[in-house]
Symmetry: C2
Subunit: 408 residues, 2 copies
């Protein structure tokens, strides 16, 4: 990839994504295979006035070896200095930039139950700290093409070419064109029109139907807004874009009120394991049955991670002809695939969707019907024939999606 293009992408991430402000701290989490991009992002953050940018490097290779070789109790150790770091994050509220470039099969061969147990154990400690900073800091997830991921997306293509092709797809779907700042401004305006209309409807529930078998109802949280594109940091008032790309208009539904069955329309990469061709059935808002042609064990671990993992935290609407879906690619990465078509998410909901959320603690917000969990996993259910009908509080029926795309 050309240096000038990578630099432009790095600046897009720092400026439009994190919107780094003068004097702010930044933490960048990125794989060791992305040193050049990481360096450009660090430089872009300083250009925007960052006080200190720290890089937290990750390595799928070493992570896999660690999970395979270390004992469970060693993996679950959470030293005091890591707790001190959580306090530091709450004090400094650094912008968090996450760059995803993992091979979707990176952790293949790792004991799923062991991995899940470690995450559960760590999250139990991190969660109370994170609740204190939730919604207050800027964050952004964006992608970067690694050889292993590129070969998964373009099987049979020589590595170097596949990496370039994946970069092209990433840059295109991220609107990293001649003037990315302007493109994102216009895109955010369009998403705003959509979610403002949905907010005006006063929806009671949505009914999803597709010939693939999906027949599913989910109830809206009357206290929750729909949102899309950029968000605004609590207290700071800083506008940032937590996902690049982002095509979705979404809300957090009422935890514990959903009925019926949904069928996946894209594979899901969860903790480095692929889950394919699956269905999830809900009763009284909770998952009661899952079936996967591949990755059944991972899917079961997922929905049993904690109480909230079996309930929905998000309903997101994305037209079937989205720029990402139009690439015709399966990215095996949620950031892209979730923005290709309509999806739902199990687990953690978004407390900042509650109207006037600034006035409440995280605990209070969860009590208002936003689902609480250490998990948040999006899975895709959008198809070309998906119809979604809205039923409003005052008994009206409104077409939301018709044949896979916006009906309004």
């Amino acid at each position: 990839m050309k240096k000038s293009v990578l630099k432009k992408y790095a600046y897009l991430i720092a400026k439009v994504g994190a919107n780094v402000q003068k004097g702010q701290y930044v933490e960048l989490t990125v794989d060791v295979n992305q040193e050049v991009l990481a360096d450009y992002i660090v430089e872009a953050c300083y250009k925007l006035g960052a006080r200190m940018v720290k890089v937290r490097w990750t390595s799928d290779k070493v992570e896999k070896t660690t999970y395979k070789k270390a004992k469970l109790d060693a993996l679950c150790e959470f030293p005091e200095y890591e707790k001190a770091r959580q306090e530091y994050l709450n004090e400094k509220l650094p912008c968090m930039i996450y760059i995803e470039s993992s091979d979707p099969d990176a952790l293949n061969g790792v004991d799923v139950a062991k991995y899940t147990e470690v995450r559960r154990s760590n999250m139990k400690i991190i969660k109370p700290y994170r609740n204190l900073r939730e919604n207050k800091y800027q964050w952004i997830i964006a992608g970067a093409a690694s050889p292993a991921w590129a070969k998964k997306v373009f099987p049979g293509v020589p590595t170097k070419k596949a990496v370039n092709m994946l970069w092209d797809a990433i840059l295109k779907t991220s609107r990293c064109d001649d003037d990315p700042i302007k493109a994102w401004d216009e895109h955010n305006k369009d998403l705003k029109k959509r979610f403002e209309y949905l907010n005006s409807l006063n929806l009671d529930y949505l009914h999803y139907e597709s010939k693939n078998g999906t027949n599913f109802k989910v109830w809206m949280n009357p206290l929750c807004n729909w949102l899309g594109g950029g968000e605004t940091g609590q207290d700071s008032g800083i506008y940032y874009n937590p996902n690049i790309p982002s095509e979705e208009v979404f809300t957090s539904p009422l935890a514990g009120k959903a009925e019926g069955i949904v069928f996946s329309t894209k594979p899901l990469s969860f903790q480095g394991q692929l889950i394919e061709h699956f269905s999830i059935r809900f009763e009284n808002g909770k998952v009661v049955e899952v079936h996967a042609e591949k990755g059944q064990e991972s899917l079961e671990e997922m929905v049993h991670m904690d109480e909230g993992a079996a309930m929905l935290g998000e309903c997101a609407l994305v037209p079937f002809e989205s720029p990402i879906n139009e690439t015709g690619l399966l990215f095996y990465n949620t950031l892209y695939d979730e923005n290709a078509v309509c999806h739902l998410a199990l687990g953690h909901g978004f407390t900042n969707l509650i109207k006037g959320y600034e006035k409440y603690t995280q605990e209070e917000l969860f009590k208002m019907g936003v689902n609480d969990s250490n998990l948040h996993v999006d899975f895709m259910i959008g198809s070309r024939d998906l119809n979604i009908t809205g039923y409003t509080k005052d008994g009206k029926k409104v077409a939301i999606f018709k044949n896979g795309t916006w009906a309004f």
Copy 2:
């Protein structure tokens, strides 16, 4: 480099170098460009029974950008969680494995005074913690070929070939042959004979002479031993090899007693800057004058880093025909170049050379004449015509080095 060879090297580092024991913690510091080797080392440590291996990734690229762009006061911040980590290190005493692969010019362009000030500021905080764990944990420094370093060692050679050539040199000088364990065992026995003889002499001072202008006397610390090759951890009693390769027999001379001038015979890479063709003159044990054809500023910053930086912490004897010198290469890296020929080190001395050091605190040991500093920089003074004459406490004259090599 072939996988099987890299794996053998990784095992040599973990087994002969760190000598990782069952249940031990390990921290591996390594550049992001060495992911494959890092993964093999992690695996080797677990094979030896490590409880947890943590990797601390470094990146010269990002370090350079950070030092260029961040403000001095931001760079000097030392958050509480980093202090908590120092306490963790003192509690767990993890084995520390350091892999060096840096471009010797990596930090070219960085403000030397700024860099030194940051190091000084950080070391001031770290030092008291480190004093508490000094000599108690196993540690090892070894090398790995990176493209930038290889191109420096083999200018004009295509990158891939240069990397392979540097790997060959690293593996050869590290005795990573058919049976590295046996080779290191024999090598350590040979070094032991040498330092035991030197210890038996009861030396008062050494006199260095060479036609290049070196004419220099340095006084021995009567409480200090000579040592070479492996060392033994205090309390643990675990034998480990802190340098791979290692060819030197060395001691810490009496701080503050040295006279005369020494001329460098190899360039020195200090904090990512090259210092070449330099001389250092001592009076009353302290540096009073330095001259460098290249890197004068770096050399001056170095000797003024703190009080102990202007005094000697180490005298090391290495024959001119050492395996490293015989490669004919200049590595631009102290680990290799210091083990090519005789050298001295400014700064920090080795308190574990004091006979019965286990019975004293670090502070007490420094008062016994071992130099104390946050700096420890080796510089090479060995030449083909170097003569070193020892003068014993009882007035005898003993030839130690004759024409660049052992006289006994």
